[in-house]
């Protein structure tokens, strides 16, 4: 199942993002904390990579390093041929918290991404509407964030990033704390968007169900901040609805989740693992 990190990319996909010898240390209460240690990782074009690991394993930090929101202590990250030197519009980052301006409607919030990048343009509205439709929020275009449920706010935040057409989507637990029905809808949607837009997605989560449903590969990080193992997810698609209920699919799904689970448990050491099933 596991694949060694060989620097050639994944499944014949051309390497888009390359991490070489990445470590991140920071000082906390006078002590050096190692968040990420000696990470080598190549991510292919249009790949859907999920990163899991116990709390404190540095998975969010790794994502922020790729986003350019943090600078590595050692090593280098490249996107295409360019080194990452800071945040850039080629990498859209979706954080756990909502990023909506309360005084702007859903439409105005989604237009915001375009306004910052291109200024006010006639075509902004139509483009924003297209992406609002894509995340299933057409009925709420003129509503303000205070009128939206948690799930709707996530969708609006997602559309706000997607509309700028980032080549790479960095998602940090974007569906945490949503109810299971909303989550299922958003899983289906993000899969559809990924296929339609051909983005490369790096998705951090603490839920293994989510990891197995979405990913092409799953990287497990351990308490030392290292990538301990990378799983290739060979489950066929679609992975939702009736297809997911086929016994053959289901068995393989459980099997893979179990394998990942065991690796996460090992990564967490002997302490109680914070992963539910």
């Amino acid at each position: 199942m596991d694949q060694t990190i060989d620097g050639t990319g994944f499944c014949g996909k051309k390497t888009l993002i390359s991490l070489k010898g990445i470590s991140k240390k920071y000082l906390k209460n006078g002590r050096d904390i190692v968040a990420v240690k000696d990470c080598d990782l190549d991510i292919g074009e249009n790949e859907f990579m999920v990163i899991v690991g116990p709390t404190g394993s540095g998975k969010s930090t790794l994502l922020k390093l790729i986003g350019g929101f943090e600078t590595p202590t050692t090593g280098a990250i490249t996107v295409g041929d360019s080194p990452v030197k800071g945040p850039g519009s080629d990498r859209g980052m979706i954080f756990q918290e909502y990023a909506l301006l309360p005084w702007r409607s859903v439409l105005q919030n989604v237009e915001l991404g375009l306004e910052f990048q291109y200024g006010k343009r006639a075509e902004n509205k139509a483009l924003a509407m297209e992406y609002i439709d894509m995340v299933g929020l057409s009925a709420a275009v003129n509503k303000h964030p205070v009128e939206l449920s948690g799930g709707m706010k996530r969708r609006a935040s997602l559309a706000m990033i997607l509309v700028t057409k980032p080549k790479i989507l960095l998602m940090d637990g974007p569906f945490n704390a949503l109810d299971s029905k909303t989550k299922l809808t958003l899983h289906t949607e993000i899969t559809r968007i990924w296929k339609h837009e051909h983005n490369t997605i790096i998705f951090v989560t603490s839920e293994l169900d989510e990891a197995v449903k979405l990913s092409e590969r799953i990287a497990v990080m351990n308490r030392d901040g290292r990538i301990s193992k990378i799983f290739t997810n060979d489950l066929p698609r679609p992975r939702f609805g009736k297809a997911a209920l086929e016994p053959q699919f289901h068995h393989r799904f459980i099997e893979l989740r179990e394998e990942v689970m065991n690796e996460v448990k090992a990564a967490a050491g002997k302490t109680v693992c914070d992963y539910g099933l």
Binding site: F69, L100, L101, F116, H144
Partner: protein, 269 residues
Amino acid sequence: MESNDRGQKTLLELRDVSKVFKKDGRDFPVLKGINLSIREGEFVSILGPTGCGKSVTLQIVAGLIDQTTGSVVLDGKEEHGPGPHKGMVFQEYALLPWRSVVENVEIGLELKGLGKKERRKIAREQLATVGLEGTENQEVHEISVGMRQRVAIARALANHPKILLMDEPFEALDALTKEEMQIQILNVWEKTGTTILFVTHDVDEAIFLSDRICVMDINPGRVKKMLVDQLPRPRHECMSRTDKEFNDMRDEIIALYSSLKDEELDLII
């Protein structure tokens, strides 16, 4: 600055505002006959338990939702919809995480089309007003939650709003940070002379901050009593919340809610 040094001009008026939510073909009245008048420079809190419609009232003033009947008049003009003249600071910080601290403060100015130099100057001034000098280039995720809320305040102030609308802005903070923020917002209020309408379900917070407290009742949400808070100013950290005046005021407010059932009374005291 004492509140009575400020102008006596009425800035904001809610005239017989009501709100009915419709759900599954049924009417749910959440606000009934709200009349409220706020003077320029005043600090007014709307206090009440869950279900009294305090946040809905603020959202109507902000123009985020429409009232069913009645009107909102700000500076002599009837209000429709949101605008930068009404600064909003909500419980969720609503900062854009991919922009730095100073870039978040600049959002409104940038959208208004101000040049980079000018907006940076204003943003720096406002960051200083909320005590965040030197943090401008930090990323939003690097700063504490209390600091994020200050950034949100600076962002609202950067548009020179006529009024600052705050909806339980310190609710998600730990007790110590909450108290620091209460002092901070009084500093901001005194420095800028802005008018503040502040929603809370924390009785002590309302007493500590306000010139007047609008005590709300539930089912449907309505004004129960308008109290004048005569605690001396400046209040700041040296003020004790166990002084007789403070205690009397707290007792008066609690007495107003004596008819509520235990499960309805989720005020923080």
